[in-house]
């Protein structure tokens, strides 16, 4: 059985490693084969970008060689897929090679698209690429004061970034003794401060204590860099001295180019992760159109369920379990306190007040991640 995993991010890597351990005997006996195709030979710890943006992590701390993270027996190629032929069970890569498969899992992720809002890319900062995170730090490092506006697009990767970037920026300027020179205004697309109602209620109290003002039902339409205003689809206008964006995201271009899903999101069954119309094709992580958080933890828990199912297909010919919608997100509530939200399809989150110990666990997880990617945690 030839299993092809496309994408070497968190979802693809955990899937490959988990699967390789489950199929150790089959790999050794040449009854199964796991191949990973990725766009890069490096693996980035994306949640670390927030800390790079705040000057608390160096960019090189975010990377490991992808091959070093993979279990022996996984065939790895840094050769991105350009053509998916799901009806013919093969893909074609940038180097011109064809890879045939019996089972395929697509985990190509998502990308921020600030360029889709006129004026946004040129007049804002964000934390979604290494280049953007470095620009973010240089900008806040030189900022002399004024009105900081945080505005969020839809959909976006990591739903905790809007509160996290607000709280950590607040502490950044607090530590510099600049709170008398800056003000914060938080804009959010729906009628409360966060998509999770309990998180929204908690944020309101924290914002009140810090004097952070808010505007809800605010979806960015355009940014006028000359006048330093951001306008919303809802007809309002907000002035800023520094615009911090959580830009809208799309799936990867290769998904759209191959007509696998509008916006780059592949339609899948929310429990089995099967791509619509293809029994032997699956997608996970940000790549899917499932209406849940686009976050590393989503990819992680989906990968665990999918690994068990793919291994079962190899061993007994059928999948054995459902992905239950599990998501776990840390929420940094400043430079030294954090909380978390955990939920699934049936159980809403119930976040607790932030503590220093959860913050330090998050700091530890920034290193433990590499064990997670190897499928050990």
């Amino acid at each position: 059985m030839r299993i092809l995993i496309v994408g070497g991010g968190m979802g693809g890597t955990i899937l490959a490693n988990n699967l390789a351990r489950r199929l150790k005997g089959e790999l050794k006996a040449n009854k199964a084969q796991i191949t990973m195709l990725s766009a890069s030979d490096k693996h980035m710890y994306q949640p670390g970008l927030l800390y790079v943006a705040l000057g608390r992590m160096a960019p090189d701390e975010l990377y490991r060689d992808q091959a070093s993270l993979l279990e022996p027996g996984i065939q790895f190629h840094a050769d991105p897929v350009e053509e998916f032929h799901l009806d013919k069970n093969h893909v074609k890569t940038k180097s011109g090679k064809t890879f045939n498969y019996d089972l395929i899992a697509i985990a190509t992720g998502s990308r921020a698209v600030p360029e889709e809002i006129p004026g946004l890319a040129e007049n804002s900062i964000n934390v979604y690429t290494e280049e953007a995170a470095l620009k973010f730090f240089k900008t806040i490092n030189e900022f002399k004061g004024g009105r900081i506006v945080i505005a969020t697009g839809v959909p976006h990767k990591c739903p905790m970034i809007p509160p996290e970037v607000t709280f950590t920026l607040y502490d950044f300027f607090k530590d510099r003794g600049m709170l008398d020179k800056v003000s914060f205004h938080y804009c959010y697309p729906i009628g409360r401060l966060h998509s999770l109602e309990p998180v929204s209620k908690w944020m309101q109290g924290e914002f009140n204590a810090r004097g952070i003002t808010t505007e809800t039902l605010f979806n960015m339409k355009e940014v006028d860099g000359a006048k330093k205003v951001v306008r919303s689809e809802e007809g309002s206008e907000v002035k800023f001295d520094l615009l911090v964006a959580v830009p809208a995201h799309k799936g990867m271009q290769v998904v759209e180019k191959n007509n696998l899903g509008k916006g780059g999101w592949i339609p899948v069954d929310r429990n089995r992760l099967t791509i619509e119309g293809h029994k032997n094709a699956f997608a996970l992580g940000d790549t899917t159109n499932i209406p849940i958080s686009k976050a590393g933890s989503t990819a992680h828990f989906e990968a665990e369920a999918l690994a068990e199912n793919l291994a079962s297909i190899v061993k007994i010919g059928t999948p054995v379990r459902d992905y239950d919608g599990k998501v776990f997100c840390f929420i940094e509530a400043g430079k030294d306190r954090a909380t978390y939200a955990m939920f699934n399809y049936n159980n809403p989150p119930d976040p607790k007040p932030p503590t220093k110990s959860i913050h330090w666990f998050k700091m530890a997880y920034n290193q433990l991640y590499w064990a997670s990617a190897r499928g050990l945690l």
Binding site: V154, P155, P189, S195, E234, G325, A341, P349
Partner: protein, 76 residues
Amino acid sequence: MAEKKTIDARGTYCPGPLMELIAGMKMASVGDELEVLSTDEGSAKDIPEWINKVGHQVVSTTEANGTWHVVVRKMK
């Protein structure tokens, strides 16, 4: 030609039905109808609130067996 699309946000908490609709609206064409399925009663209020504020149209809001069906039309 206008299309009708369903956004099944039942049993999901984050990003939630309204956020899914906002994302869906971006990919829709003027005249398209989008039906949001939600198990959150709040959707019956917050989806029309946003739709009216931004200038789209609420076609219908109904409830059956614990699921809210909110149908909207993209107007601009």
